[in-house]
C-alpha cells in the first residue's frame, strides 16, 4: 500500500461537510480520504477544498471517481473549490467538472448547497 501523502480535514458547515485537502493526492491517499468521507456522515453535500493541494496524479483522480460513486449512492452532492487552472483543466478533460460542482470559493460552494445563489464555473 502506498503511503498517504495528503491530509483530509473535515469541517461541518450546516448541512454540508467541507474537506480541506493538503498535500499530494495519489492512490496512496485512499484510506485517509475514505476515513474523512466516513466522518462526513450523512451530510447533504461534500465540499472538497483544493486550495491546499499541491499535486494530484491519475491515482488521485481515480480516488475522486470512487468518492463520486459512493456519494451518488447516498444521494450526496460533491462540490469543489480552490482548484488551480491546471487541475480545473484536468477536471474538464476527464469530465469530472460535469459530475462535481466547481466553484470559485467556499462561500459560493456552500451557497450552492443551501440553494442560494448558484455560481457555476468551468
Amino acid at each position: 500500500m502506498a503511503e498517504a501523502t495528503a491530509t483530509f480535514d473535515v469541517r461541518r458547515q450546516g448541512s454540508a461537510c467541507v474537506v480541506d485537502i493538503h498535500g499530494d493526492v495519489t492512490a496512496g491517499s485512499e484510506e485517509v480520504l475514505m476515513r474523512a468521507y466516513a466522518d462526513a456522515g450523512d451530510a447533504r453535500a461534500i465540499v472538497l477544498n483544493f486550495t491546499g493541494m499541491s499535486y494530484m496524479n491519475s491515482g488521485g483522480i481515480g480516488l475522486l471517481v470512487t468518492l463520486l460513486v459512493r456519494a451518488n449512492r447516498r444521494s450526496q452532492r460533491l462540490l469543489a473549490f480552490g482548484l488551480s487552472d491546471h487541475y480545473r483543466q484536468i477536471f474538464e478533460l476527464t469530465r469530472l467538472d460535469e459530475a462535481v460542482g466547481i466553484h470559485e470559493s467556499e462561500a459560493a460552494a456552500l451557497a450552492d448547497v443551501s440553494g442560494a445563489t448558484v455560481t457555476r464555473h468551468g
Partner: protein, 534 residues
C-alpha cells in the same frame, strides 16, 4: 556431406502423399550413379518416428523394428533429416558419412535442422504444384513454376525491416515475370549489430529460388556465430560449393552495421558494388571476393567504413544497372552512382531511381530481371542538447521527484500552464515506467533525460520493461466508471496523451522509452488535447 541432390529433389517434389509412400535416396559423393531408392512401407514405424522427431536423426543409433531403417543402415546413411511441413512428413533428407570421415558436428546438425525447417515449406509448395502439373498444359506448367519461384522467393524475404533508432531503412523488391534469384535479408546479431545481405542467384525460376533459400539459410546459420563478414561468406561458400548445381552460383554482398557508432564492415562475393551517399559524393563499397558456390577454398576481403550522420547506403541488384532502353543500351553503373550522389538518400533514392529506370526502359516494357534495392541511412546529426540526465529507483512516490526536477530544468522554457501539463505527463509516465516497466523493483532505475532543440523540449523516460503489446487500450469514460462499467483508475495514459504536444515510444536494446515533447514558443493557452466548454 550429401545434401539435397537432384535425385532427391525429383523423388520428393513429385509425391504429394509422401507420408504414405515416403521414399528416400542416398547419394554418396563418390558414387557415379544414383543408388536404388529405399521404399518405405506406409505402415513402417520409421515414418511415425520421423514425423515426430525433432531435428536430424542418428540412423545408426536408432533401434526400431523397421525394414526401412535396416535398409538405410545398410546403405550407410548416418543422418536422416525429416522435412515436415504443416505437421506432415513430406520427405527425408538422408546423409551418408561426411567426406572428411569426421562425425557430424553440432553446428552441422543445427544447420541441417535450420535448412530442413526452411526447405520443407518450399518443397511442400513444389510438391503441390507438381501434382497439378500432371494435368496442366505446358504453358500452364511454366506459369505455375514461376509462381512457385515467386512464392518461395517472397517467403524468404524479410516481412519487415527492423527499426533502429537513428537509422532509416527501406527496401524494394520487384521480381521479373520469369522470376530471377534476387534476395535480401536483415539478420539481427549479438551486441545490437545488424547484418544486411543482398544477393543474386544465377538462373531463374524454381532452381534459382531453391538455391536462394539454401544460401539464405546458410548465411542465417553462420552469421550470429561468425559475425565478421569475410568469415561468414567464406563459410557459406564452403557449405554451398559441394551441392551447387552446375552453372549456378550466387553473388552476395554482406555488411554488418553497428548502429551506435555507424561502423559498417563488409565483404563482397562478386555482387554489384553498393554505393554510399556521403557529404563528399558517392563512395563505392569495394571488397574482393568470388561468387559463392563456384569454387571451394575462397577467402573474402573484409573492409569497413564509418557511416556518418546523413550517409545513406544503397544496395542494389543487377536488374537496375542492366536494364536496357529500346536501343539496347544499359542503364549502367555510372548513372546509378550519379543518382546516389545527387538524390536524397533513404527511401527517396529508391523512388527516384525507379522513375529514372522507367524513363530509360520506356513504358509498358516487360521487366528483364528482378530489381532489388535496399537503403540504410543514418539520420542527420541531431541539434539537440542534453539538459538533464538522472536516474530514480523504482519506488512508489518517486514520480514526484521526477516531475519536480524536470519542471525546474525547463521552467524558463515553457509558459506556466504548459509547464504544469508537461510536469503532470512526466509524473504519469514515470509512474508507468516504475510500475509497469520495472515492476517497482527498487534496484531497477527509471532513467530520465531532458533534451532541448531550438523548436521543442523532449523528456525521455526509460524503463527496462518490455514494450507494451500494442493492443487497444481502454479509453477512460467517466460515465462508464460511475456506472461501474470501468474501474475508477486508468487515467494515466489518457492524461499523458492529452497533456503534451507529442508522445512516442521506442525501444533500444532492453531499454523501453517514452518521449514526451512540448513545442517551444507556443502560447500559454494552447491546449493540446483538452476542450474548453465555456
Amino acid at each position: 556431406m550429401t545434401t539435397l541432390t537432384g535425385s532427391l529433389r525429383r523423388r520428393f517434389l513429385g509425391r504429394p502423399t509422401v507420408a504414405a509412400r515416403a521414399q528416400a535416396a542416398v547419394r554418396r559423393p563418390e558414387l557415379a550413379e544414383d543408388p536404388a531408392p529405399i521404399n518405405i512401407a506406409p505402415n513402417d514405424p520409421l515414418l511415425a518416428y520421423l514425423q515426430s522427431a525433432r531435428g536430424p536423426v542418428d540412423v545408426q543409433a536408432l533401434q526400431l523394428d523397421s525394414p526401412a531403417l535396416a535398409a538405410l543402415k545398410a546403405a550407410d546413411v548416418k543422418l536422416a533429416v525429416p522435412l515436415v511441413s504443416q505437421g506432415e512428413l513430406i520427405g527425408v533428407l538422408n546423409l551418408g558419412p561426411r567426406r572428411s570421415e569426421q562425425e557430424y558436428s553440432t553446428d552441422d546438425r543445427k544447420l541441417l535442422d535450420n535448412l530442413a525447417a526452411q526447405a520443407a515449406p518450399a518443397l511442400r509448395v513444389g510438391q503441390l504444384v507438381r501434382q497439378q502439373e500432371a494435368e496442366a498444359r505446358t504453358r500452364e506448367r511454366f506459369e505455375q513454376e514461376l509462381e512457385v519461384a515467386r512464392l518461395i522467393q517472397q517467403n524468404f524475404l524479410p516481412k519487415q525491416l527492423p527499426e533502429l533508432t537513428g537509422w532509416h531503412m527501406a527496401a524494394y523488391y520487384r521480381p521479373a515475370r520469369e522470376v530471377g534469384g534476387d534476395f535480401y535479408d536483415v539478420i539481427p546479431l549479438p551486441d545490437d549489430q545488424v547484418a544486411f545481405v543482398i544477393g543474386d542467384v544465377t538462373d531463374k525460376g524454381v532452381p534459382a529460388a531453391l538455391v536462394m533459400a539454401a544460401t539464405r539459410s546458410a548465411l542465417r546459420a553462420f552469421a550470429p556465430r561468425l559475425i565478421e563478414p569475410g568469415a561468414v561468406l567464406e563459410r557459406a561458400n564452403e557449405h554451398l560449393c559441394p551441392d551447387m548445381p552446375e552453372k549456378m552460383f550466387v553473388t552476395c554482398f554482406y555488411g554488418v552495421l553497428e548502429p551506435a557508432t555507424g561502423r559498417f564492415r563488409f565483404a563482397n562475393a562478386g555482387h554489384d558494388v553498393p554505393y554510399v551517399k556521403t557529404a563528399d559524393g558517392a563512395v563505392e563499397l569495394r571488397a574482393r571476393g568470388m561468387p559463392l558456390g563456384l569454387m571451394a577454398g575462397m577467402s573474402y576481403e573484409q573492409r569497413e567504413m564509418v557511416l556518418a550522420h546523413g550517409d545513406s547506403v544503397l544496395l542494389h541488384s543487377d536488374g537496375v544497372v542492366e536494364a536496357h532502353d529500346p536501343q539496347r543500351r544499359m542503364f549502367g553503373f555510372p548513372r546509378l552512382k550519379e543518382a546516389v550522389a545527387t538524390y536524397p538518400g533513404g527511401a527517396d533514392v529508391i523512388d527516384l531511381v525507379l522513375t529514372d529506370l522507367l524513363a530509360h526502359t520506356g513504358p509498358g516494357v516487360e521487366q528483364e530481371d528482378d530489381i532489388t534495392m535496399v537503403t540504410i541511412q543514418r539520420a542527420p546529426g541531431s541539434t539537440s542538447r542534453l539538459l538533464l540526465d538522472f536516474e530514480l529507483p523504482s519506488v512508489e512516490g518517486n514520480e514526484r521527484a521526477a516531475l519536480d526536477r524536470v519542471g525546474a530544468a525547463v521552467a524558463t522554457l515553457l509558459p506556466e500552464a504548459r509547464l504544469d501539463r508537461l510536469k503532470t505527463a512526466v509524473g504519469e509516465a514515470t509512474m508507468n515506467a516504475m510500475e509497469h516497466g520495472n515492476s517497482y523493483r527498487a534496484d531497477v532505475p527509471v532513467c530520465v533525460r531532458v533534451l532541448t532543440e531550438p523548436e521543442a523540449v523532449h523528456v525521455q523516460i526509460s524503463d527496462r520493461g518490455r514494450p507494451p503489446s500494442g493492443g487497444p487500450t481502454e479509453t477512460p469514460d467517466l460515465e462508464a466508471k460511475l456506472a461501474g462499467l470501468q474501474r475508477p483508475r486508468g487515467w494515466g495514459l489518457f492524461l499523458i496523451k492529452n497533456m503534451v504536444d507529442e508522445s512516442r515510444e521506442f525501444t533500444e536494446g532492453d531499454l523501453h522509452t517514452l518521449e514526451l515533447s512540448m513545442r517551444l514558443g507556443a502560447a500559454d493557452d494552447e491546449h493540446p488535447g483538452g476542450t474548453h466548454d465555456d
